[in-house]
Amino acid sequence: MKSVSEIKLAAKLENLQKLLQSVTECARKEGVGNNKLPAVELAVEEAFVNICKYAYQSEDGDIELKCMLKDSRFIIEITDWGMPFDITSLPDPDVAQDISERKIGGLGVFFIKKMADGIRYRREGGRNILNISFSCG
């Protein structure tokens, strides 16, 4: 699988815009429709924010993001070198609760699952590797 764009940055919230800009540019270039871009952006933000907040437990660390196109699917691969964390194993929040029962937080991972057409996680050589894919057709 050939990667068409690659970016590596410190896992800090202040880098969010830079990361999103790079992903959006790549998505556009690869022909991802404008109607799909907000979903791509949301999934990437949620994955990035999770890594910034939890992966390195207040230590410094990096995140690497690769974009690629395969069989008319736009695939984003996000790697970190932090604690093992399989987001695909998390249960979904109860979205039917009312305002007082509803917990603050817990929606980020749910949004990644909802926005993407597919997600896959693997732990490999001390890295968390998350594949988020979008069909572009």
Binding site: L42, I99, L107, G108
Partner: protein
């Protein structure tokens, strides 16, 4: 993100423009806390010019709504559209808040 506020009768209208994400949400939190401490209890949040919201933005709105409820206040959201509306629907937030099509309808509701 731009936050504009104005008061119409006894209702405070907060309009958001741009992106409410993990970077801009703390600024919005600060604004809302300020309004709470000034005793503003009737609020309309106009999202008509908001292009994008993530879970961080929803978290801010939910946290504020909980505090407002505890203070006996009211909040109505207005003019949700596009991806913002979609995020509210997916998260179930669309049914936990009072949401109206226009600011005028929201003002009417608050009377």
């Amino acid at each position: 993100m731009e936050i504009n506020t104005r008061k119409k009768d006894n209702v405070f209208v907060v309009s958001l423009k741009g992106k409410l994400d993990a970077v801009t949400a703390p600024e919005f939190d600060k604004k809302l806390e300020g309004l709470l401490s000034e005793g503003e209890n009737n609020l309309i949040i106009n999202l008509g010019e908001l292009e994008y919201i993530s879970s961080a933005g929803l978290r801010s709105i939910l946290a504020f709504a909980k505090q407002l409820k505890a203070n006996g206040g009211r909040m109505v959201l207005a003019e949700l559209r596009g991806p913002v509306k979609e995020v509210f629907e997916i998260s179930g937030f669309y049914s936990i808040f009072q949401i109206l099509e226009s600011e005028a309808a929201a003002l009417n509701q608050m009377k």
